[in-house]
């Protein structure tokens, strides 16, 4: 069945295919345009470099009036990412606007990787380490990057 949300998601997909931002890929699952798989590559020249992090995006029929639920499937170590993979990012919560499409969401998450907001920690250990012990923090990030290659 075709609904406004589905029609909009088709256009999101088209844009992502025609004009993909660097280091990002995403596509709806074969039989369900409301559920997407995505991969974010860790930005070059950062501790995240080389990581391939998998996410899912679950859309509801109220998209784009409401944001999708975005979760990392890959294990993460980041001040703004919860243990269950959900992400603390303003545009996915109270700062959402239909102006963001899937490409913009994934780009924002990608830049969140290197530019965490330690003031709203979802993982306090990572947040503390990020501000107090950058060296150890970077080591933990490298671990996560390596894990991202072997995970299913």
């Amino acid at each position: 069945m075709s609904t406004p949300a589905r029609k909009r998601l088709m256009r999101d997909f088209k844009r992502l295919q025609q004009d993909p931002p660097a280091g990002i890929s995403g596509a709806p699952q074969d039989n369900n345009i409301m559920l997407w798989n995505a991969v974010i590559f860790g930005p070059d020249d950062t501790p995240w470099d080389g990581g391939t992090f998998k996410l899912t995006l679950q859309f509801m029929e109220d998209y784009p009036n409401k944001p999708p639920t975005v979760r990392f499937v890959s294990r993460m170590f980041h001040p703004n990412i919860y243990a269950d993979g959900s992400i603390c990012l303003d545009i996915l919560q109270n700062q959402w606007s239909p102006i963001y499409d899937v490409a913009a969401i994934l780009t924002s998450i990608q830049s969140l990787l290197c530019d965490p907001n330690p003031n709203s920690p979802a993982n306090s250990e990572a947040a503390r380490m990020f501000s107090e012990n950058k060296r150890e923090y970077n080591r933990r990030v490298r671990e996560i990057v390596e894990q991202s290659w072997t995970a299913d």
Binding site: S97, P98, E125
Partner: protein, 343 residues
Amino acid sequence: MQNHEESGASCEFEDWGNFGDEDIMNQQSEIRAEEAQKVPFVADKFQKRCGAVPEPLSALASEYQSGSPILLEKIKMLGEQYAAIRRTRGDGNCFFRSFMFSYLEYILESQDRAEVDRVKANVEECRKTLQSLGYADFTFEDFFALIVVTIIFSKFVIDLSLASELAFLGSYSLGSWKAFFKEMNPPLGVEISQYLTMVSEFINLNASFCIHILSPDTFGWSVVMFFRFVASGEIRKRSEFFEPFVLGLTNATVEQFCKSSVEPMGEESDHVHITALSDALSVPIRVVYLDRSSCDTAGVSVNHHDFIPSGNLPKAASGSTEVISPFITLLYRPGHYDILYPK
């Protein structure tokens, strides 16, 4: 706390994790939604619904019975000029919703076909603004298409009522309506049946028609979003003009302000939003302020501010000295806008 063993610390952090930002934000938005739902999106003037009707101004007075005497005095003064107030839901979108409702009522009551054409042209301009600012078409085109159809539809309704064919509306068959809307090429996501309902609502009363457009089951959210896009586009387009005003509200840049305070749903409106919307669509708006300020020694008076767009106004041509009267009057109480009806 920092000396805890790894296991103990992580356990404690687990608990903290359970009360993350997300939960706090969710709780906050739940409380807000619950409070907001006590008032309908736009209160029906003619039916009692959720206890919120357009009440005569005396209803407003009773709200402040035990409150500030300045406010009571001001409400009394308002009563000399205004007949009624229509409440809107306080969910952060009240300005945009009040605007749409009031503006539709204005169009339908004035039966001003030229105004419909004018606003249509302005909407087209806003679309070009967003395109030139680099917004991706598909993120806003549905919202624009919806408004254009609503505007065309209003004109059609005016035509029919001008021709005193209102009764004829009711006898129009379902098939003819479908053909009509097909011709109008409704935007994606707008079901013809929604328009059919609007038509039947209109047959009853203009107000019901407006309420229907703003109901969340129809496209109330999209309407609000449309105005947010328009306001944001206008602010960005004239960022030099708006910058000092934005700086007066927050220390964000114009760009940040648009992203955080204009485009997201539920962000409250301020004079910057009103100026932008009024300018972009060339619709003059009066805002009457009901607060505790008492301006001068001469005693209490009710302040108002007229947002008169700088652009081309329909009546400006006929005489430059002519005072432009606002199409829309809103009552502002700190944090909230409702609609006022002049006598």
